[in-house]
C-alpha cells in the first residue's frame, strides 16, 4: 500500500514534537545535573566554589566561619548602594588593606572621587587579596555577579 504524502500539518506537528521533546530533555538534564552537583559536590566555576580557607590561620569551627563571613557582609551606607557577592572589575585608583568591609565603605564615602568600591572578603581564597579594598573611578568594567568572594558598592546607583 502506498503511503500518503506528509501533509504540511503533519510536518509542523513533527517539528513541534521534536522541539518540545528537546526542551523537556534539556530541562530534565539540567535538573539532574544540579541535583548531582548537590549530591556528589561536582566542582562548579571557581566563583561559586567556597574554598576551605581556614587551614592557614585561625582554626575555627564551620559555624564560626559562617558567622564570621556573615559579619563580613553586614554593612550599611546612606551614600553608597552596596551589593553582596559582586565584583566590579577595573577603574581602580587606590588599593587599601582594611580590617572590615565597613572600613572600605567609609573610605569610599569620604572621597568624592570614589564612584565605586570592591572589597575582598577575609575568606577570599587568595590570601594576598583578603581584606583588600579597591576604590574606583567612574570608568569601571561590567559588574560580575554571583562571586561570593567580593562585596561591591556604587555611589550613583547600579
Amino acid at each position: 500500500m502506498k503511503k500518503a504524502p506528509l501533509s504540511r500539518r503533519d510536518l509542523l506537528l513533527g517539528f513541534t514534537g521534536i522541539a518540545v521533546g528537546g526542551a523537556v530533555a534539556t530541562a530534565v538534564g539540567l535538573t539532574f545535573r544540579s541535583q548531582i552537583k548537590k549530591l556528589v559536590g561536582l566542582p562548579g566555576t571557581p566563583q561559586d566554589r567556597t574554598l576551605p580557607t581556614y587551614d592557614d590561620g585561625w582554626l575555627l569551627t564551620e559555624q564560626e566561619w559562617a558567622a564570621f563571613q556573615d559579619a563580613d557582609t553586614a554593612v550599611t551606607s546612606d551614600i553608597l548602594e552596596v551589593r553582596d557577592n559582586v565584583d566590579i572589575p577595573g577603574g581602580d585608583y587606590d588599593e587599601l588593606k582594611v580590617s572590615s568591609v565597613q572600613e572600605c565603605v567609609t573610605a569610599c564615602e569620604q572621597d568624592s572621587s570614589c564612584k565605586a568600591f570592591t572589597y575582598a572578603r577575609a575568606s577570599h581564597s587568595d590570601s594576598g587579596k583578603r581584606r583588600a579594598c579597591w576604590l574606583k573611578s567612574g570608568s569601571t568594567g561590567t559588574p560580575v555577579t554571583g562571586d561570593s568572594r567580593y562585596v561591591s558598592g556604587r555611589r550613583d546607583g547600579w
Partner: protein, 460 residues
C-alpha cells in the same frame, strides 16, 4: 690552674681532656672526687677571638642547617660553647631513652649532680602537671647560665685539673691492634707539633663539642686508612639538631587555660607544654615542646576581634614557639672535606636535612591542641603554615656524631661512653646522644660527663 703545655710533664696526669666546656667541667669535677687528675686542652684563649674562632671552625655544608650554622655553636675559647649558652635546661624523659642503651634511671643521680653544678634546685627535673587532655605542663628551667668563659675561677678552683690554653689535640695514634690509643699529637701556635706517648693507665676523653669530637676522630687516620673509632663508618653520622619553629602558632584562650603556678624553688621558667605519652606515640614517637609566651590580644586581626566576642571574660593570648625532636638519620652527617684548620685537623662538611616526619609531627601536635581547645570551649588556635614549612631554624644543639649504642655497627661509643674497642678513649658531650628528644642538651651532656668521670675513676 693554667699551664703551658711545653713546660709540664704530661705523663703525670691521669686523664687528658680535649675541650674546656661544661662536659669537661662536669667530668673533671667527678674525676677529682675519685682522686684522678686531669689536663684540659683548649684550642681557644681566655677571651673570645673572632679570627681564631673563624680559623678553627670554618666548614662546608648543605641542608636545613648549613656551613654557616654549625660554627655558631662550636665555641673556641675557655668554656667552649658554654660561652654562648642561654642557660635553658630540662632533662630527657624516660621515653626519650627508647633507642639508648641506658635509661633515665641510669642518669637520674647524675641529673641531680648536674643541676647542682648549674646552681639550681632539682625542682625542674621532675615537675610535670596535666595542662589539657593530651598535653602536660613541662616548663624549662631558665636560671642564669653557668658560663666558664666569664667565670674562669670555676675551673681554676678544681685542685686536680690543669688547663692548657691555645693547645689543640690534633690527632690520636692507635696501637697496632687498635685496642687503645698509644700516643697523641698536640698543636700550639708557638712551636712544632708535640708527639706525646701515653703511659700505662692514661686515658683520653674527647669533650670538644658535637662537631669537634667527630673531627678529632676523623682526623686521626695517618697510620692506616680507617680513622680512629670509624672502623664501621659511623663517626659523624646521626647528626641532629632541635628544629625550632618560632611564632608558628597563636592561642586566644579563656581563663581555663592560664598556666599552673610553679613552686617557688623552680626558679626562672620558660612556660611550655609537651605531649603526653599517648599523643607522643600518635605523633610517631617524635617528642616536642610547645612554648607558650604571653601576648596581647590583636584587635587588628579581624578574626581575632571576631573571636573575642565569644568569651564571657576578656581572653588571654599566647604566642607559640615549638622545638621538636629530629629523629636520628644515618645520612645526616659530618664528613671529611677539603683542607685543614690551623692545627691540621680536617675541615668538615655537614649534610643535615629535617625529615617530613618532623614537620608533620609539629603540625599534627598543633592541630591536636586546637581540637582540644575547640572541644573545651571558646579558646582557639591559629597555625602559621609559613613559619612551620619555611622558617625553621635550630637551637644551637649539635648532637649525635659519636652515637652511643651497644653495636659498633650502628654507633661509635658504648654505654660507658668508651669508643668501641679502645680501652683508653672516651667521649663526653652531646655527640654521644643516641637520640635527642626536645630537651636542651647541656644538662644531659653534663650528667653523662659526670657519670663518665665516675666510670673512669672507678667510683661508680
Amino acid at each position: 690552674m693554667f699551664v703551658n703545655i711545653r713546660e709540664i710533664q704530661i705523663e703525670k696526669y691521669d686523664v687528658i681532656v680535649a675541650g674546656s666546656g661544661l662536659a669537661a667541667y662536669a667530668l673533671v669535677k667527678r674525676l677529682a672526687r675519685g682522686g684522678k687528675s686531669a689536663l684540659i686542652l683548649e684550642s681557644g684563649m681566655l677571651e673570645y677571638d673572632g679570627t681564631l674562632q673563624e680559623d678553627f671552625t670554618t666548614m662546608f655544608g648543605r641542608g636545613h642547617f648549613d656551613a654557616q650554622y654549625w660554627p655558631l655553636h662550636w665555641g673556641r675559647m675557655l668554656g667552649g660553647t658554654s660561652a654562648f649558652w642561654a642557660g635553658w635546661c630540662t632533662p630527657l624523659t624516660e621515653r626519650n631513652f627508647r633507642d639508648w642503651p641506658i635509661s633515665r634511671k641510669d642518669l637520674d643521680p647524675y641529673y641531680l649532680l648536674a643541676a647542682g653544678y648549674l646552681r639550681r634546685t632539682d625542682a625542674f627535673l621532675t615537675y610535670d602537671k596535666p595542662f589539657v587532655p593530651g598535653f602536660d605542663y613541662r616548663p624549662l628551667s631558665a636560671e642564669p647560665a653557668l658560663n666558664l668563659n666569664s667565670e674562669p675561677d670555676l675551673l681554676e678552683e678544681l685542685s686536680l685539673a690543669d688547663i692548657a690554653l691555645t693547645t689543640t689535640l690534633k690527632e690520636l695514634h692507635p696501637s697496632d691492634d687498635r685496642r687503645s690509643i698509644d700516643a697523641i699529637s698536640i698543636y700550639t701556635p708557638d712551636g712544632p707539633d708535640m708527639l706525646v706517648k701515653l703511659r700505662e693507665g692514661q686515658t683520653v676523653v674527647l669533650a670538644a663539642g658535637g662537631v669537634g669530637n667527630a673531627q678529632i676522630l676523623l682526623s686521626s687516620s695517618s697510620e692506616s686508612g680507617q680513622a680512629v673509632g670509624n672502623e664501621e663508618d659511623q663517626v659523624g653520622r646521626y647528626l641532629m639538631e632541635h628544629p625550632h619553629f618560632y611564632n608558628c602558632a597563636r592561642i586566644l584562650a579563656s581563663a581555663d587555660h592560664i598556666l599552673p603556678k610553679l613552686p617557688e624553688d623552680f626558679g626562672i621558667a620558660i612556660p611550655a607544654v609537651a605531649p603526653d605519652d599517648a599523643l607522643y606515640d600518635q605523633l610517631g614517637s617524635i617528642d616536642l615542646s610547645i612554648e607558650l609566651l604571653d601576648s596581647d590580644v590583636d584587635l587588628d586581626d579581624p578574626v581575632e576581634r571576631f573571636l573575642v566576642g565569644n568569651f564571657t571574660t576578656p581572653p588571654i593570648a599566647y604566642e607559640l614557639n615549638v622545638r621538636s625532636e629530629m629523629p636520628p638519620e644515618a645520612e645526616n652527617r659530618l664528613k671529611v672535606a677539603e683542607g685543614h684548620d690551623p692545627a691540621g685537623l680536617r675541615r668538615l662538611r655537614a649534610i643535615c636535612y629535617i625529615g617530613t616526619d618532623t614537620f608533620r609531627a609539629v603540625d599534627s601536635a598543633l592541630e591536636f591542641l586546637s581540637d582540644t581547645l575547640v572541644e573545651a570551649g571558646p579558646s582557639r588556635l591559629a597555625i602559621r603554615n609559613e613559619e612551620i614549612a619555611r622558617n625553621v631554624t635550630g637551637g644551637g644543639h649539635t648532637m649525635g656524631t659519636t652515637r652511643m649504642g651497644d653495636s659498633p655497627r650502628t654507633s661509635v661509643v658504648d654505654r660507658d661512653c668508651r669508643v668501641h674497642g679502645y680501652g683508653n678513649l672516651f667521649v663526653a658531650g652531646s655527640s654521644v646522644f643516641t637520640s635527642g628528644g626536645y630537651a636542651n642538651p647541656t644538662l644531659t651532656l653534663m650528667a653523662l660527663a659526670a657519670r663518665l668521670g665516675d666510670k673512669i675513676s672507678g667510683t661508680s
